[in-house]
Amino acid sequence: MKTNGSPSLHDRLALSVRDIPRSGIRDFFDIVSTMRDVISLGIGEPDFDTPWHVRESTVFAIERGATHYTSNLGYLELRQALAGYVHKKFGVGYNPATEVLVTVGVSEALDLALRAILNPGDEVLYHEPCYVSYRPVILFAHGVPRAVETRASDGFRLTRAMLEAQVTERTKVLMLNFPNNPTGAVMHRKDLEEIAAFARERDLLVITDEIYAELTYDNAHVSIASLPEMRPRTLFLHGFSKAWAMTGYRLGYACGPAEWIDAMMKIHQYTMLCASSLGQKAAIEALARPDGDIGAMVDEYRRRRNFLVASFQELGIECSRPAGAFYAFPNIAKFGLTAKAFALKLLEEERVAVVPGTAFGACGEGFVRCAYATNLEQIKEAMQRLQRFLKRLG
């Protein structure tokens, strides 16, 4: 809509938005969605159905007429249940009246958390490869992203030395995501203690996205928020998408110091008002009977993880053994193609979709993300196709 000399709409877009590329995942999706008979290892959500008792309770919530605005923070009953769950599972206590905010997925919580904290020019440390939204949400909040590269040789764990190399006087926040999308990496207690000491010494705030916390396969999950003296500087983010297979409900939450939660609530109340009442009712039900469904899912994911890692080994593909989430991040550099070219060629020739590692940060070059949130028959077929593909590559 260009009219006599006025700048084009493109030129009038906010620079903080215009200059950010679309997600690499989005581009890849556009290609995959034109093809048939594709086996997708590119899906970042569970293949399990939402537990039936949760779905059934959603129907009941509609019948009862729970279809109105809720408190900005979320139903108090839900916040109480969340505080109880977080205390029991992660060992950190929060006051449901002032320290818990229910959000539209962890994605909204992350956006609120950064906007509530950052002034223009404040720096945020985060580790790559990472979830696709981290860098963009920092930029939308007028912060300066500082990526720290994690490496396959360390099992994609974060170390203090890596952070030391990137921290500056302007660094205000450290963002963590373990178990990690896309690498499946986890941090053990001793790894986290090192990071926590660093955060305390540098007086950094910490945002920890623990959406995959229930999905660990070798050791129990530890939250950095539970470590000594971390609670006052840490915002804990979690939600129902992964462990309860409730992605479409869009339900997440933040727990943290009251001042931080209150600042987030201000943005949330003026932009979102509240998370969906139905999603909140479903979440109350999910927490009322938490463990049976999740335990069976975790066992199934673990078996698939084992299968996938063993298959990569047979094919001579290097892959750090993922211990959480539902992703493997194998190294495909030795086949002489970029991650994007590898993924495109594999898709075109064998109809197997994987996501190029570069979608998760530049240091993902040479890797692809394979999600095992797909049934074993599909994974097995995908591995057979991959074997054919690699044979031809030579």
């Binding site: 997600s23 995942i25 890849f28 999706f29 995959v32 969605s33 594709v38 997708s40 590119g42 899906i43 970042g44 959500e45 293949d47 979830y131 696709v132 939204s133 999308n181 066992d299 078996r303 698939r304 084992n306 299968f307 063993a310 298959s311 979709a353 996501v355 979608a359 074993l376 097995k380």
Partner: protein, 159 residues
């Protein structure tokens, strides 16, 4: 329960090599464990789960509640065993509540089931009464839904 059994219960045809990879075991270990379960009678057999409604068989299945007199020695076991040996009886359970044994009985047609109940079942010593219900349609058997499952509604690629 042993994960090996969980896998087999879901898919008895699962390739042993695939099971080995899922459980971080060698193929030999998996085969040895299965042989052991078979020998000990933990694994009693392997069957296909059929959607019989789709086969248009004219057979009928009845669920029969049976009240019996337990015996001084052996309680319900001897009579339950005796009833279970009829080939018409597909499954048999001892129940709590208003009746004692629950039988799933299959017959060529309604008349055949009726004949089984009146001529064989009711005349067995110790059987006090029976109550027969005919099955009309199967929605789920052995944990398997009979209607084809819905399409995967997830996006093919997502973050």
């Amino acid at each position: 329960m042993d994960e090996l059994l969980i896998i087999l219960q879901k898919n008895a045809c699962a390739a042993h090599a695939d099971i080995a990879k899922q459980l971080d075991l060698s193929l030999e270990e998996v085969e040895r464990k299965i042989a052991d379960y078979e020998q000990r009678g933990v694994i009693r057999g392997y069957q296909a789960v059929l959607n019989e409604d789709a086969l248009n068989l004219d057979t009928v299945t009845a669920v029969i509640e049976v009240k019996v007199t337990p015996e001084r020695s052996g309680g319900f076991n001897r009579i339950a065993d005796r009833l279970s040996r009829f080939p018409e009886v597909r499954s048999a359970y001892l129940m709590s509540g208003a009746y004692d044994l629950l039988l799933f009985v299959e017959g060529r047609n309604l008349r055949a089931v009726a004949a089984f109940v009146s001529e064989k079942l009711s005349t067995v010593d110790g059987v006090i009464s029976t109550s027969t219900h005919f099955m009309l349609k199967t929605y789920k058997r052995l944990g398997v839904l009979m209607e084809p499952s819905h399409e995967d509604e997830r996006l093919t690629i997502s973050p």
